[in-house]
Symmetry: C2
Subunit: 133 residues, 2 copies
DNA sequence: GTAGCTGCAAACTCTTTGCAACTCT
DNA sequence: AGAGTTGCAAAGAGTTTGCAGCTAC
């Protein structure tokens, strides 16, 4: 039972075979898989799993803040385990997603919100670019 | 003929009644209307206009970079005339969209992309918050 | 035992598109 | 005149949901 499974069990989620599969796919993913990808990868391990379950589970995990849902400039969602906070740079030529962290940026966004009289609840920062040469 | 109409005509778009309506709605909007809103506002002026035309026109304007399409954390798009570059803070309680500019932020995002070996083509920065009191 | 979970298929929402008729230029 | 544009209705893509049966606890 990995940490993510433990967290799910702790909040009362029944640890069904399907959910274990989905959690396994998420924890071992090196990328930011779409629902479709999670489904396909899980299906390889047990082909009776359904898309509906994948959608329902990912939504549940998102609400529990155990995963992060991304909606890049695509018409579908991608997910990743909610681990260390970071942002993304999307390579427009290859579709690769590069993660980065930046302390200055974190401070700046807090400062901006504060100056506008707001308490920051959430944010979104994505860079889209192409390799410079 | 306003400036936006002129720009459209310049690139060869036929200035039909429907397009004039849409452009009028966009230039007079104080907010960031959804396709639905643009459609409704245009319909008030001439109720024969169709959704398909609104979608087609907004897509065209987006490709010409005459409007900016936003996809905030909602499941639909919002549009605004492509004017001065700025970012948005979305009030999670009221849905209000507050615009802001920040020079530091502009420099920072360029710097981050550069450090990662990328040329910045596009980006997205949105803050979501609630009024602090 | 039972509350919660699953697969299936149908429904939903937003958006796009094929087509025949129409309209700017 | 003719290329481009329109409204309509149907189709698409991604996602959600009602339901009857199943399963973890």
């Amino acid at each position: 039972m990995n940490l993510l499974e433990q967290k799910c069990a702790d909040v009362g989620m029944k640890m069904t075979e399907q959910r274990k599969l989905i959690l396994h796919v998420l924890t071992t993913a090196a990328d930011h898989p779409s629902v479709e990808s999670v489904y396909e990868r899980a299906k390889k391990l047990d082909d009776s799993i359904s898309m509906a379950t994948v959608y329902r589970t990912l939504n549940m995990l998102d609400e529990l803040n155990l995963v992060v849902r991304h909606e890049f400039k695509e018409n579908f969602s991608r997910y990743e385990v909610n681990d260390e906070h970071h942002h993304h740079l999307i390579d427009l030529e290859t579709g690769d997603v590069i993660e980065f962290q930046n302390r200055e940026l974190e401070l700046l966004k807090e400062k901006i919100a504060q100056e506008l009289g707001y308490e920051l609840v959430d944010h979104r920062l994505e860079l889209y670019g192409k390799k410079s040469r």
